[in-house]
Symmetry: D2
Subunit: 98 residues, 4 copies
Amino acid sequence: MSLHDHPSQPRTAAEKQAIINRLKRIEGQARGIQQMVEEDRYCIDILIQINAIQSALKQVGFSITERHIHHCINDAIQSGEGHEMIDELMNVLKQFSK
Amino acid sequence: MSLHDHPSQPRTAAEKQAIINRLKRIEGQARGIQQMVEEDRYCIDILIQINAIQSALKQVGFSITERHIHHCINDAIQSGEGHEMIDELMNVLKQFSK
Amino acid sequence: MSLHDHPSQPRTAAEKQAIINRLKRIEGQARGIQQMVEEDRYCIDILIQINAIQSALKQVGFSITERHIHHCINDAIQSGEGHEMIDELMNVLKQFSK
Amino acid sequence: MSLHDHPSQPRTAAEKQAIINRLKRIEGQARGIQQMVEEDRYCIDILIQINAIQSALKQVGFSITERHIHHCINDAIQSGEGHEMIDELMNVLKQFSK
């Protein structure tokens, strides 16, 4: 499905932790919404929370895309193998925007 | 922030369970991505999983919106109080599409 | 494809003019981008203009949706025929968010 | 606003024509919707046409982004000046997804 198993430059411990913290928060938000459904809370209040997760996920997606271009694609281009990896990225961006 | 504490017709136990199941799956996906980051997995594979959560959340959002219009807005309109609730919904939809 | 030929309450001349003005501006923007392509302008500058049209179209879409719910759906619900029309709207909103 | 006046490799006549044809179609669609508003056509039918323009514009945006990465960013990276241009692109993508 993808060209590689790992990014061309491993993420630092700090980078990993920053992403994991954001995902933990998203996980907590998903749990919070379950609670709201359990309590039969008002639809609009639930939708506002769903919007909040969507925004948070989009931020995570952007920061991973950003690093991917700055490192993996940058490295691939410098070693003359960029085009296949650019196509791979574009396919994911097209999915993302749906 | 919202006009009500609860939907105008309480969700049935089956309706609640269906939404909660979907949110549990989303929660599990968010945990799975943390694992992928931990293992320093390839950016594109992580982005594909983020896309998957986005789609799943969008589905949950639509089904809650759908029920909200069929029940809450429908009931409000029938008792002549629909317009304020329609404005409330539009505000959330505008946020959603960002 | 749709349930009706016209909105349940005809748009006023002022309402029509407001939407048409916005669409004329969008049409002009689409022409402007052709000019930019003709002059082989920088990709990013073209993308910024495409973003601008997308935002403008989204605004038009929202204002038509808003009026549709306040009038057509409101009227249909009051005469007890709302549900089919709500399903019709949801199908379009699902498309819209793609 | 942007780093350059032109793409690092000029678009061919055929490439320009392909994009301009798509934009002409979009311009025609925007004119068609004005006609529909003039005739007070049903909201949902208008929304379907707005969705169609949105999809068409998204396709144009993707194809310009794709060429930008394959050419401009590729060339900038090979001459060691990629990072600023990647940041520029990410800013536009973030806008695009709103």
